[in-house]
């Protein structure tokens, strides 16, 4: 049942938090009864969490708290106001605390012990990211394009690891514009770089062509890790 694409998308929307009503209840029911669905939710959390980390934090508008208060505190009269305010405050606090507790419980149950490590590689000249690299626990490094990459037919893309503080990058191998799984043991603070090299890779062991893309390997901190 849950290996149907529809349920996988339901899991994705559940992680996004956009579900409501019957759909949300259905997702919650599946989460507690269907292990395959719970796995799909865990996979989507892994996929979406790195993307959240790429979004710059935004400060809420200065008048937001005032608007929240205006929404949760109805205009009331007489001297029951302070009491009613306190009740509303504790009602809101309880709801918020329950929501946080439920999210934490879901994370603790679902999340894998090791935090994932990802790098988003953008053109050195600036612009939108074109590659995503995911370092797995078993030493696999999966390189995937997020945009179409054009490479001349007589050239290859070569991936390099440059740990923080070092000057000579280490080759991790060549890969096609469609992506590839490579193998690499990577230190935590490592920059990944991509250079354009002759077919088969750099003949010297160091980059010889232009460095096209780069990005830092980031450990995604999950709340319970």
């Amino acid at each position: 049942m849950s290996d149907l694409p529809d349920n996988d998308l339901l899991a994705a929307e559940y992680v996004l938090g956009t579900l409501e009503g019957d759909e949300r209840r259905e997702a919650e029911r599946l989460l507690s009864t269907d292990p395959a669905f719970a796995r799909a939710v865990a996979v989507w959390q892994q996929r979406l969490t790195p993307l959240v980390a790429q979004v710059a934090p935004a400060a809420p508008p200065a008048d937001l708290w005032g608007r929240i208060e205006a929404n949760i505190l109805p205009p009331v009269t007489a001297d029951i106001v302070p009491f009613r305010r306190r009740v509303r405050f504790w009602q809101a606090t309880t709801v918020a605390a329950l929501a946080i507790a439920a999210s934490l419980a879901a994370f603790i149950v679902l999340h894998e012990p090791e935090p994932p490590r990802v790098a988003v590689l953008s053109p050195m000249s600036g612009g939108a990211p074109v590659l995503m690299a995911t370092a797995e626990r078993n030493g696999a490094l999966i390189v995937k394009p997020t945009a179409s990459i054009q490479v001349p037919t007589d050239k290859d893309l070569e991936l390099w690891a440059l740990p923080k503080g070092e000057t000579k990058p280490r080759s991790l191998g060549v890969f096609p514009p469609s992506g590839r799984q490579l193998t690499a043991e990577l230190a935590p603070d490592t920059q990944l770089l991509v250079s354009l090299e002759p077919k088969g890779g750099s003949p010297t062991g160091q980059p010889t062509g232009p460095v096209l893309y780069g990005g830092w390997l980031t450990t995604i901190q999950l709340p319970s890790g």
């Binding site: 998308l9 994705a12 996004l16 938090g17 579900l19 995911t134 394009p145 799984q181």
Partner: protein, 34 residues
């Protein structure tokens, strides 16, 4: 934000928001599949 929050905020029908999100997720899944 829920589907209907997004629809209201962006001023488009609920069905449109749902299909945008589904299509984006399908494309994201294809792009991140390993």
């Amino acid at each position: 934000l829920s589907h209907s929050d997004l629809a209201e905020r962006m001023g488009v029908p609920l069905g449109t928001v749902k299909s945008w999100i589904r299509r984006s997720l399908i494309s994201l899944r294809g792009c991140l599949a390993s």
